[in-house]
Each structure stands twice: as C-alpha cells, then as structure tokens.
Symmetry: C2
Subunit: 246 residues, 2 copies
C-alpha cells in the first residue's frame, strides 16, 4: 500500500493534498460520532464537498472504497495521515519542528496558539529584527504569553537552525525582509515555508512555499459581491426596460 | 470593456480570481519601479509565475496584451481592480465594510492590523462570545491596542449589521460556534465570509466562503517534506543494492 502513493507522488496536485487534509479532519469528526464507514456521496453531502472530487482525489491512493459499503473511516484517516507525513510510528506521532520569523501581530498570534502539537507541529524558536521591541515581547511583558517560545534576533537564524533540527519556517516578516530571509532559510536547508507575507517569493525548485494571503482572499470575496451586484443591476435594468415596452 | 468580464463572470474559476489579486500586487510593484509595459514572459519570470498561466488568466478579460510590447501596466492594474470590485469611483476608492467574529488570538491580530484601508477594507465592528474576557479586551487593557474597534457580544450581531451596511464577515470563532454564527450571518444578509476556523461550513449557494486553514497549509508542506524523504530513502536503497550487486 505504501508503494502506491510513492509511485504516484509526482502526479498529485497541491490542491488534492490540501483537500486530503480537509478530508482527514472530516473523517476525525465522523470517528468522534462512532461511525465506521461512509460513502463518498454521504461524506460529500455532510461536509459540503463535491462527491466526484472526493472519489477522484482518493483514487490517487488506490482503492479504499468498498463497493456498497463506502470507505472504512479509521483506515482511510490513517492512510491520509501517512500520506501527509503525519503517521504515528512506534515511538509516537512524528512531530515536525518549525521556526517562526517575524514576531509581529500575526506572528505573535501563532506563537501563542497552543494546539499545534495536536496536529504534529511544534514551534521551537522565533526570530525578529528587533526582538526586544517586538509585538511578542510587548505581550510577554504585559503577562499575556502563557508558554514563552525563545525569541532571537535575525542574526542567530543559521546558528539556531544548525543546532536544532528544523523542518519548516513560518514567515511573518515585513515585505522588505521576506526574500532575504527566505534566501537565508533555504541556504540553511529549510525545504518547507509557510508565508503570511504578501510578496512573491523566489525559491529553488526543491523548496515548497505555501502562501496565506489574507488580502487576496478578501479580494476573492469582493469579486463575488461585485459580480453579484452587477448581475442584480443588469436584471433590474432588463425588468425595467421590459416594463416600459409592454 | 466592462461588458467583457460581466459576460464571462460565470466561467472564471476562483483560482483565477485569486491569481488576479496576486498579479495586481505584482503590477503595483512594477509601477513603483516606473515601468510602463511588461511582457507576460518577463512578468512571470520576475515574480516566479507561470507565463502560460498568466496569459490564460488574463485572456478571460479580453485582449490586454499588445503584440511585441506586452501589457500596459497601469491599464491592466486598473482593469483588475475593477474586476475585483475595487475600482476607484469619482467619490474615491470603494470601501468594503467587514465585521470580525471571535476576538481571540488571530481575531485580535486582524483587529490590530492597521493597513486594511490601503486595500479597500474596513473592519467596522467585532463580536465575541465573552467580550470582556476576550484576548482583544486583555490586550486593550494592557495598552496594546492603538485604535480600538467596537467589540460587542454575539447577541448584538443582527442589530449591529442591520444598523451599519456590512459586506463581509471574517470568522475567527471556536469550531463549536462557527456554523451557528454563519447561519445567523447569512440570514442577516452577509454574502461573503472569510473563515479562519478549520471546519467545513455549509452555506446557501449565493454565499461565498473562503477558508484560511493554517493546519492544512502546514500539512501540504509536511506532505512535500515526507515525499522528499521517501524519495531520498528509495534512491539510497537503490544505490545500496547496486553497490552490493556489482
């Protein structure tokens, strides 16, 4: 079974991988409800997903569904965990170490988030251009940080990463600093970056960047609202001219 | 020109819309560098984009490119702004009003973000299950909030929205509260929701939800890192067995 997804790994789109993570969460919900199996149709309806899409996504990883019975929930969840690199081994769940760069507003919110461990992640260190005056330091001084994470100046990035195995960097710097920090991260061996900075980052082909762009997401909504308003105005126009001609 | 994108609006994928927002930002960067035109090839190379994708995305909106000269930067930027519902009118830039629901860690980071206005957004009110003990209230008491935004209990959601025109809701509640709040928001006439809550939300077809799922994004990275490690292990195995057989 392991071989199946390894062989296909190059053909799986990032969109599929993202959806697998969503499916995993939905399967966990069904597990909590003590369900054992679920059809792709029921699964899709329950969580507002597209059932054809669900079947297609899961087909990449071999035949999970049992005709007439649907997917075995726990088995499928475990398989997805394994695909995502989050499978539990005999020594417990794999934990991926992350560093956070830029202890501003968003960075601080992430540093204060206590539940990364539930998902197999741990932020082991943070970095800022000016640690002592950073948002994180201010909140710590105000007694608003429960379990502090060590915060270093940018200068200590390479040394800290070399001393502590680090898989992922979460980027929440200023736009000006982002590319240079990314260059340093990739030279230091980091191959996975989650960026909250709204700039296009250039990285070597073996480095994966995922960007969370809050403004772009909001603009997808305004596109929708704007189109809706235009359509309504158009329809109103048509109704209006019809009422004139009849 | 306006008619072009209205006619095609139904055929444009969300992915294209998202990328248009990215292109807009890149075009603004080129404007700051006083460039007048750019070819799709140079544009793609400069920002690490796919030039075929760029041409395909922009083709939805008619022929912007001038053969041999490329795209006129300012015209294209304005056209994208218009498509996204962010065009300036004679009365200045359109501002989209948003409410934020859930004044926890991420919600507070967003409430403290001072630059939404630059992108045509304003958070006009915030809501929390327990405003007085919320993260936002705590930071405010500690003197860490510069320009406070009014924070109300959930009970006042409908009334506040009815009194103040609201286009968008930003959702940062607990998982337990999310669907019920979304039901109330859609009944109150909200058609655009940006959710930071990692649950699948069910909404009527005319309501657009965009979800920012930090855990799913991180799991896309672990998939990549895990696949890379598997490939390396496989290659090492092959090298190993080759060295044994020769």
């Amino acid at each position: 079974m392991t071989v199946l997804y390894m062989k296909n790994a190059d053909n799986i789109s990032e969109f599929t991988i993202y959806r697998l993570s969503i499916y995993k969460r939905c399967l966990e919900q069904l597990e909590r409800e003590n369900l054992k199996t679920v059809s792709s149709k029921d699964f899709a309806a329950r969580f507002g997903l597209n059932s054809a899409q669900v079947r297609k996504d899961l087909a990449y990883f071999g035949e999970f569904g049992i005709r007439g019975m649907g997917y075995p929930i726990t088995t499928l969840k475990k398989q997805i965990l394994s695909i995502l690199g989050l499978a539990e081994s005999s020594s417990g769940q794999k934990t991926w170490n992350a560093v956070l760069i830029g202890a501003g507003k968003i960075g601080t919110a992430l540093l204060k988030y206590q539940h990364f461990a539930n998902y197999g992640f741990e932020i082991v260190a943070a970095f800022d251009a000016a640690p002592e005056s950073s948002e994180y330091a201010q909140q710590q001084q105000a007694g608003l940080v429960d379990t502090p994470i060590p915060l270093y100046p940018f200068e200590q990035l390479e040394q800290t990463i070399s001393e502590q195995p680090t898989d992922i960097a979460i980027l929440a710097t200023s736009e000006e600093n982002a590319q240079e920090i990314v260059n340093r991260l990739t030279r230091a061996g980091i191959h996975g970056i989650l960026s909250f900075v709204p700039v296009q980052l250039l990285v070597p082909p073996d480095v994966k960047v995922r960007t969370i762009d809050i403004i772009a997401e909001l603009q997808c909504l305004t596109y929708h609202l704007h189109s809706e308003a235009l359509t309504q105005a158009e329809n109103a126009d048509e109704t209006d001219s019809e009422s004139h001609t009849t």
